[in-house]
């Protein structure tokens, strides 16, 4: 994997560690079970600092997207498409993904998670997204 690696931050690394294990997780409060997204070690609902991870289905709906035609980082050559995906199990939790080129997309389309190893000396992975239906249109074979 080239580009920008996620920092190995104890508050957020659980997402990338779980992805390496083929799972999508969201942060949650261990006391009141509130979803904490973006992941953080503090529960805004009950004030607890006891937090953990909840595994959710790797399925979602396309919330919005844009094809970036002008590169703003040398590691990411335009055009590429950034998608924001709302999780089926936790509406309101949105994850970003990247799709090569200029795919044919529609807001609301069903997507399934794919896990892209970070490689190198890390053991994590990024959650990426493919179309759930009609795999012929998958942008990554």
């Amino acid at each position: 994997m080239s580009g920008i690696r996620p920092a190995r931050d104890p508050d957020t690394w659980g997402v990338f560690a779980a992805a390496a294990d083929g799972r999508v997780v969201v942060g949650e409060c261990s006391s009141c079970r509130a979803v904490l997204h973006l992941p953080r070690p503090y529960c805004h609902r009950c004030g607890s600092f006891e937090v953990g991870w909840r595994t959710v289905a790797g399925r979602g709906r396309l919330w919005s997207w844009t094809t970036v035609h002008q590169s703003i980082h040398p590691a990411f050559e335009a055009p590429y498409t950034v998608v924001v995906v709302e999780l089926d199990d936790e509406p309101g939790v949105r994850l970003v993904g990247r799709v090569p080129g200029e795919p044919d997309l529609e807001i609301g389309m069903a997507l399934v998670a794919r896990f892209e190893p970070l490689g190198g000396d890390g053991d994590g992975a990024l959650v990426q997204w493919d179309p759930a239906e009609d795999r012929r249109n998958a942008w990554v074979s």
């Binding site: 920008i4 996620p6 997402v15 919005s64 844009t66 002008q70 970003v96």
Partner: protein
């Protein structure tokens, strides 16, 4: 009528002509020039200034208000910095008025300047993929290909198009009418005629937003004085009274936005209008933050100038120029006037003051009594709304 209604007025303005190439001066020197000129424009003396609101210059962060006060030779009884992105300028106006209403000061100098540093601008998008605790931007956005701010607004435009059928031609109309306004403003950076066809046929930067729908970086700055009623009235020029103000912050990261097609302008504008005791139908000038065409459309909807979702047909059916039935951003907006960094949001205030004073030259509105000003920060996350009036 709220407690801040007519508690203070914007009574002096100074503004640099935005430039593509950075000026030779440092930001703090530019601030000094702007401060001097705004105080003079307010008809005040240096010693009258006893309040100071600033944005840190050139990457300076800690203790900047006292540093600038010392540089300017001021010893204020109220000083602070405001950090609301594009909502900073509008946020400063009501904070200044509140400090005056509280009796802590009588004349607040608000100042901001931005010298474009291309290297710094590029670095801003090259942070590694982590922001530390609770700053998930790095891990959860940058790692996927830095979205930059552009992408956030493209996502909003995309969802608005999907949900309400808004078209690129309707969004382009905003850029075109504002360009017509800029052609009547000698200070505007972009003054060549622009058509809807040219906007929609220009290259896409972040689909569905085209080149002329996006602000381009430049250098510039602005300062203004918010003063107590007696000081404002002593100036020879009509004061721009603060009649109403409202603010709302909902999130920081785009993915945490409650609804990217419904901005917190709903709350900030409602509060401002209620305090002023007026409605959108009463407004003569709409002077609102326009980092992107979509932001103007969202602001018009969320402030109540048209129903939610009707912004596309609304901007197509109304003439947004200074000669039109709903003048919007008569200075050209940041899209055509220029967006000198953080100071871009100040241009909506300076233009409202000019129009209320009757000093807008060729683009002067026939009878401008009420202006609606909105500042928008981050990812449609910070909103500050003002009603200013004669």
């Amino acid at each position: 009528m709220g407690e801040l209604t007519r508690a203070a007025a914007v009574t002096g303005i100074a503004e640099l002509t935005p430039t593509k190439s950075p000026p030779p001066d440092r930001e703090i020197e530019i601030m000094a020039v702007l401060a001097r000129d705004a105080i003079a424009d307010a008809g005040l003396r240096h010693d009258d200034i006893d309040g100071l609101l600033v944005v840190p210059a050139g990457g300076m962060r800690m203790l900047f208000p006292s540093l600038l006060a010392e540089y300017l030779g001021l010893r204020p009884t109220y000083a602070d910095q405001v950090d609301l992105g594009g909502a900073t300028a509008a946020g400063m106006v009501w904070r200044a008025a509140a400090a005056i209403a509280a009796g802590q000061c009588r004349a607040v100098l608000c100042v901001m300047a931005s010298v474009l540093d291309p290297a710094r601008f590029a670095r801003a998008f090259r942070s590694e993929g982590g922001g530390g605790p609770s700053l998930g931007f790095g891990e959860f956005e940058s790692t996927y290909g830095p979205m930059g701010v552009n992408s956030s607004y493209a996502m909003a435009a995309r969802r608005h198009m999907h949900t309400y059928g808004t078209t690129s031609e309707q969004l382009a109309k905003i850029a075109v009418d504002q360009r017509t306004n800029a052609m009547a403003n000698p200070m505007a950076m972009y003054r060549e005629p622009l058509t809807i066809e040219e906007v929609v046929n220009a290259r896409l930067v972040v689909d569905p937003l085209h080149l002329y729908e996006i602000v381009r970086p430049c250098s510039g700055g602005a300062a203004w004085v918010v003063a107590a009623p007696d000081l404002a009235l002593a100036n020879g020029r009509p004061p721009a009274w603060l009649l109403g103000a409202g603010e709302k912050i909902t999130h920081s990261n785009l993915v945490a936005s409650p609804d990217v097609t419904r901005t917190p302008v709903v709350e900030s504008a409602a509060r401002a209008f209620a305090m002023a005791g007026v409605t959108p139908a009463d407004i003569d000038l709409v002077s609102v933050y326009d980092c992107y065409t979509i932001m103007v459309l969202l602001t018009l909807e969320d402030a109540g100038f048209c129903p939610k979702g009707a912004g596309g047909p609304f901007v197509a059916d109304h003439d947004l120029t200074y000669a039109g039935d709903l003048p919007v951003n008569t200075h050209g907006g940041q899209l055509s006037f220029g967006q000198p960094g953080i100071a871009g949001g100040a241009s909506h205030i300076t233009e409202a003051v000019r129009q209320l004073r009757g000093e807008a030259g060729e683009r002067q509105l026939a009878d401008c009594e009420l202006a609606f000003v909105n500042g928008n920060g981050g990812t449609m996350s910070e909103e500050a709304s003002l009603v200013l009036g004669r």
